[in-house]
Symmetry: C3
Subunit: 138 residues, 3 copies
């Protein structure tokens, strides 16, 4: 069995994080799938999805460490193609990755108590984001 759904987001731009856990739990419930996996995927090359303890400190720490290691300056080759000032956005998103897969057991995605699914906006402008959610199993 396969069940597809979407999460729509409006982000405020670079460093904005959203917690997708509750919506993912709801989609898995809607799917009626009891055991299997659920996959989330950010359509677009400047947004990232992963797992984190979703609390205010780490919501600063994660963008901070990304900006320290992959700084938002204009020295990237990407700038020469597009001149849109978001070379770091692409690299940050590629390094974290556009998606995550979680196990589904007894009709629920399995996560630790302090473990949530996040979306991180890496682009420099507010964006409308579509996250495709696919549940497979039985």
């Amino acid at each position: 069995m396969v069940f597809l759904s979407e999460i729509q987001l409006r982000t405020s731009g670079h460093r904005d994080m959203h917690d997708l856990t509750e919506q993912t739990v709801q989609i898995v419930e809607d799917s009626k799938i009891q055991n299997g996996i659920v996959h989330l995927f950010n359509i677009g090359s400047t947004g990232a999805i992963g797992a984190i303890e979703f609390e205010p400190g780490l919501q600063q720490d994660l963008p901070n460490i990304l900006d320290r290691l992959i700084p938002p300056d204009r020295s990237y080759g990407h700038e020469q193609t597009w001149h849109d000032g978001n070379g770091h956005s692409h690299l940050q998103a590629t390094w974290l990755g556009p998606g995550i897969t979680l196990p589904v057991r007894n009709g629920k995605p399995v996560l630790g108590t302090w473990q949530q699914i996040f979306h991180l906006e890496c682009d420099i402008k507010p964006r409308n984001r579509t996250i495709l959610v696919t549940v497979t199993g039985d």
Copy 2:
């Protein structure tokens, strides 16, 4: 077809690595699934799973590079929420990611000769870890 199983680990704390390959091969064999995928997921936000050549050098190199790029000091915002000294643990685990998916062919997970599945403990204390393993396919 879906088959779920668990791997239980006792880690010794920050930087401790375990090779999960043999147990994963066994679980795929137990599942009787011939072709599909197998997904491993660390429940909890301060442990990571990935692929590496599991040999003594890289077992030092991987934690070293993580500690150099995301250092275990106390300047993280996470510290202001919990005062538990493991902000770097969360960031290291988020960046590597909590899980991995492997192909399954002819009843076995497909890996290169020098490619193994690892669990890395990013937390600062010994932890009991549960890794959920989900095999899907036919």
Copy 3:
């Protein structure tokens, strides 16, 4: 339903990138699977797969940032095991990860307009690479 296929690549060595999108679209089409997921996996511990806008600037930027953060020098512990000068290759590949999962909808992998699937050669020599592609769904 499960459909397995392979992509074969010849890489030119460290920093060489290939766009796997077109071949992935073809494999999903061949599979006749309409909805589900497609998983790509690099067999071997010194190659990486991910998502990026595949354009000439970022094809330099991604290897550049990897070489800046995980430099190709010989101070890695891996060197003491094998003396093959590719410790950074292993660490770069582990950090980006060996695979990616994409959603499949209406018989096609779902990607953004500026979002492609890449293979990055992290090893220091030209390599023949096998990427295993698994489509699951119905």
